[in-house]
């Protein structure tokens, strides 16, 4: 035996020499200097036109890692034309100089995700046009997702006060001087001489036609965080020329609670109810995505039994119906319809929430799915109610909404041609869900890389090539019908049997490694990128939030429209701030 191993050639070595450092055809580690060239090669030659997920990981202290490759930026790429499992691209960065080129010009959808990685990890993306903090305020000290970041007071090595309960006094020392010496000022900064930084102004897109002889001023309006139509605490800084939008900058983070950091501190199981709080309208789908990702890491031993698979699909599709109903109702609200359509759609939604309550004990924070199954079984009564809803009530109601809304002249007038996003731009900006399919791209995670048992059902991807708000509305309406189709089949075929593959365990270990799993939620592709070091809580818990990434195209879609339209456009993205800000 010779111990000379045949050097396996690195993948793509002849296409972009020196780009790949190690890896296989579908999982490569890339040299940061060659990143943009290699990304262009993947996009143009290999057809990986869709940057789904961009996550940074801090491997400080991870087994087998050194300060030289402390940080890792992971790109999950997919092909929207052929579907399939896609590929993973990794860039490893040293501790002292975490810098790499931005891929925003290759995949413009990297915009918000790179800003997020910069904000939470301090990784610099050279060439990004507005690399500012996105969730946290500009004066925030440090980058909280780093493993060596300490939360003020609670995690500091030196507590500013000896005891939290000094000699039985009720008045706490820290109440009297809340920060004491626990406050760290940046070098060279003095509160006395501090001047506020200039306010963030949106980039102005000059209209091609200007009236020379009339002197006009632009005004900058803050829409939100307190605004009836921003669907939560979301803020758009809008530059207006009269009523025309010439610049828009989304500002978010008002609901930021560093979900991902908390997720790292929870055990694997504790994260299931925690995902309910992401997008609080589609809790079942959030559960589904997370348990799929963890099951992928656990391997075959966590494979759920048949009945559980069916129950998961039933719950996920019911969630889709109710979320789309909500979206349609509130889109009409944003159009100024004084709550009437919204209240009618909410009525149907309530019936679905009743089903969730019956099976999980809670209408919204369901905490229903488990690794290897679901928490509770459904009984005959539940099935009877569900069948009645799915076979009789919902199809009739959807037809009713269709009849009253779709051909409404004002609705058409307000939505057709508004929020135009071409199919190329939709893919480039990493849109997902109805946003992508409303631009005529037939991409649905359930078909592109079928998970659970979606390949067993007979249903179609709903697309519409209107590329506007009306198309997104029609896609949602169509998807409700398709979901009802899936639900009818699933309720028909629901087998008997156990709902968990083994006795539920509270604490267990997940093998070391990483995994990315995505589900098609009503809002789009919800992915979970998990890294485990083999212990009982995640090393990294990253959420590819569809609401958040769908905001990438907001500025691009809104420029050139009127103030009233941006409300509609935002409403058609259907964001939920719980997931956007995380």
């Amino acid at each position: 035996m010779s111990d000379v191993t045949v050097e396996k050639p690195l993948p793509f070595a002849d296409a972009v020499p020196g780009a790949v450092i190690e890896g296989t055809e579908t999982d490569v580690v890339v040299n940061p200097d060659k990143l943009v060239d290699f990304a262009l090669f993947l996009r143009n030659e290999k057809g990986y036109d869709y940057l789904s997920n961009l996550a940074a990981v801090d491997y400080q202290g991870y087994k087998g890692r050194t300060p030289e490759d402390r940080f890792e930026v992971v790109y999950h790429l997919f092909n929207t034309k052929t579907g399939g499992d896609g590929m993973v691209m990794r860039v490893r960065l040293p501790e002292d100089k975490p810098e790499l080129p931005s891929v925003i010009l290759v995949w413009p959808g990297a915009d918000l995700q790179e800003r997020e990685a910069y904000d939470l990890f301090g990784i610099k993306f050279k060439g990004h046009p507005r690399l500012r903090r996105i969730f946290l305020w500009e004066g925030f000290h440090g980058h909280p997702m780093r493993k060596d970041w300490k939360e003020a007071y609670y995690e500091q090595d030196h507590k500013p006060y000896k005891s939290r309960w000094p000699e039985g006094h009720y008045a706490w020392e820290e109440d009297r001087a809340p920060w004491a010496d626990n406050i760290i000022y940046p070098k060279g900064w003095d509160p006395a001489t501090h001047v506020d930084p200039p306010p963030v102004l949106p980039k102005i897109h000059e209209p091609p036609v200007t009236v020379e002889h009339i002197k006009t001023d632009r005004i900058v309006v803050n829409m939100g965080p307190q605004h009836p139509s921003t669907h939560g605490v979301f803020r758009m800084i809008v530059a207006l020329d009269g009523e025309t939008v010439v610049g828009l900058e989304p500002e978010l983070g008002y609901l930021h609670r560093n979900h991902e950091k908390i997720g790292e501190r929870n055990t694997w199981l504790m994260n299931i109810p925690f995902t309910d709080r992401l997008d609080y309208l589609i809790n079942m789908a959030n559960n589904f995505g997370y348990v799929l990702a963890v099951e992928k890491m656990l391997g075959d031993k966590a494979k759920p039994p048949e009945r559980a698979e069916y129950l998961r699909v039933i719950m996920a599709e019911l969630t889709r119906v109710q979320s789309h109903l909500w979206a349609i109702g509130f889109l009409l609200n944003d159009l100024g319809a004084f709550y009437t359509p919204a209240l009618y759609t909410i009525e149907e939604r309530e019936l679905i929430l009743d089903l969730f309550e019956a099976v999980s004990g809670s209408r919204m924070m369901v905490n229903y799915m488990r690794f290897g199954g679901v928490k509770a079984d459904v009984d005959e009564d539940w099935l009877k109610t569900a069948r009645d809803l799915v076979y009789n009530r919902l199809p009739a109601k959807v037809d009713e909404f269709d009849r009253f809304l779709t051909e409404n002249e004002i609705l058409k007038e307000r939505t057709i041609g508004v929020g135009y996003l071409s199919p190329e731009d939709a893919i480039a900006t990493s849109m997902s869900g109805p946003m992508l399919r409303g631009s005529g791209v037939p991409y649905d995670v359930r078909k592109a890389r079928p998970y659970s048992i979606y390949d067993r059902f007979d249903w179609d991807i709903v697309t519409n090539d209107g590329c506007d708000v009306y198309a997104r509305y029609l896609v949602r309406l169509g998807e409700i019908r398709q979901s009802i189709r899936i639900l009818q089949q699933a309720l028909e075929q629901l087998p008997d049997g156990p709902i968990m593959n083994k006795k539920p365990a509270y604490v267990f270990k997940v093998p070391a490694g990483d995994a990315y799993a995505a589900v098609e939620t009503p809002k789009g592709e919800l992915g979970f990128y998990l890294v485990s070091d083999g212990s009982d809580n995640p090393w990294r818990y990253h959420v590819r939030s569809s609401s958040y990434i769908n905001l990438n195209a907001l500025e691009h879609m809104s420029i050139g429209y009127k103030v009233a339209d941006i409300v509609t456009i935002l409403g058609a993205i259907d964001i939920v701030l719980g997931e956007v800000d995380r």
Binding site: V36, L40, L105, V106, P108, H205, P207, P208, V209, I219, V221, H227, P228, S229, L240, G242, E243, T244, L332, N333, D334, L335, G336, A337, F338, Y339, T340, L343, Y344, E347, N408, E409, I410, L411, K412, E413, R414, I416, G417, V418, Y420, D425, A428, T429, G466, C467, D468, H556, I559, G560, Y561, K562, V563, A564, D565, V567
Partner: protein, 399 residues
């Protein structure tokens, strides 16, 4: 039972007390003004309750039902609540204009009540330029909202103020043109005369049957003048939050709210007077007091139509609304006015009987509506084929 007779006997009683003529007149005026004021303010409360209840039923919910029987006391409770709220004036606001605006808003609507004939000759001031008076004081309301939008020193309010100027001044034109058509037919600007002119043919003489197009046009333009959906852009909640009255709180806000409802009521009352026969109805010649009942009933029906539209339709966008005014309503109103003038002139020149003139008017109205609708339909069909309707498209920078 004649309301005028009651008034005259009251005057006679006052004169019998030995009060000089001038003082009697003054007392009479003040009393009349107070009665109209009382009716208006009480009615506003009832209207608020009614609109909320109607909207609730349309939206498949109950509406106010806690305070008093059927929630009847709810508007009063709301008014009391608003009375106790803090009255805020923004630090940078133009104080005089800011504080004057709500007063003018209510003042102008109350002034409009003066010329509305509640029954035959039961009218605050039976002036012979009633229509002109309505238009003049109607424009004052625009002024109030503009003042509010401008003086609040708030960007949303300013945007609302822009919209006030654009919307209300534009829609004054079709509404004024269309109000001229009944004037042409009657030959008087006196509202009482116009209502009286519709008395023929047992209800078929109402102008809504003779000129449905004009009535329709008035209704649409009145939706805009009354800031009601689908034209409620001045205070579009989902876009500019509350528009011109965003900074107003407590009673100042309540005054705008009051003005809003009274304005809708006045627009309904004008529609009733001009097109629905005013106080005309069965047995009104024998019992003139019945006129008041008929008048309020018809106005209420109009008001319900306004409320119905509000709870049903989404809102138009500002450019669409302006285009609708200038490209549809104004030409249509001009065509109607021209057609009506020709028909009326033909009637008098050729000595046609009234029925023939009215028939010609009806035909002319229907033709204009059909032409407008077909043109509009063709236009919207081409409009819906445009995929990208933005003013200009920025490029997405890509390698």
């Amino acid at each position: 039972m004649d309301l005028r007779a009651i008034g005259e006997s009251f005057i006679a009683w006052l004169e019998g007390l030995g009060i000089p003529q001038g003082w009697v007149l003054l007392i009479n005026w003040i009393l009349g003004a107070l009665i109209i004021l009382g009716i208006a303010l009480l009615m506003a409360l009832a209207l608020i309750w009614l609109e909320r209840k109607i909207a609730g039923r349309i939206q498949d919910r109950l509406g106010p039902n806690r305070v008093g029987p059927f929630g009847l006391i709810q508007p009063i409770a709301d008014a009391l609540k608003l009375l106790t709220k803090e009255d805020i004036t923004p630090a940078d606001a133009d104080r005089i204009t800011y504080n004057l605006a709500p007063a003018i808003a209510v003042f102008h609507v109350l002034m409009l009540f003066v010329v509305i004939p509640f029954a035959d000759k039961v009218v605050g001031a039976n002036i012979n330029v009633g229509i002109l008076y309505l238009m003049a004081f109607g424009a004052l309301g625009t002024m109030a909202m503009l003042m509010a939008g401008w003086s609040s020193r708030n960007k949303y309010a300013l945007l609302g103020g822009f919209r006030v100027v654009a919307q209300l001044f534009s829609y004054e034109i079709p509404i004024a043109l269309v109000m001229m058509i009944p004037v042409l037919l009657v030959g008087s600007m006196n509202l009482n005369e116009i209502a009286r002119g519709q008395g023929s043919l047992a209800g078929l003489g109402w102008y809504v049957w003779i000129m449905p197009a004009a009535f329709l046009l008035y209704f649409v333009a009145a939706l805009a003048e009354g800031e009601r959906a689908p034209f409620d852009l001045l205070e579009a909640e989902s876009e500019i939050v509350a528009g011109y009255n965003i900074e107003y709180s407590a009673m100042k806000f309540a005054w705008f709210y009051l003005a809003f409802f009274l304005n809708t009521w006045i627009l309904s009352a004008i529609a009733t007077t001009l097109f629905l026969g005013g106080w005309q109805g069965p047995f009104v010649d024998q019992v003139p007091a019945l006129g008041v009942v008929y008048f309020f009933l018809k106005t209420l029906i109009m008001f319900l139509a306004f409320a119905w539209v509000r709870a049903t339709f989404p809102r138009l966008r500002i450019d669409q609304m302006m285009a609708f005014c200038w490209k549809v309503l104004v030409p249509m109103a001009l065509a109607l006015l021209l057609g009506s003038a020709i028909v009326v002139k033909m009637g008098t020149e050729l000595n046609l009987p009234g029925v023939v003139t009215n028939g010609l008017m009806l035909v002319m109205n229907i033709v204009i509506v059909l032409v407008t609708l077909s043109l509009l339909g063709r236009y919207t069909r081409t409009l819906h084929e445009t995929k990208n309707k933005r003013l200009f498209s920025p490029e997405l920078p890509r390698l």
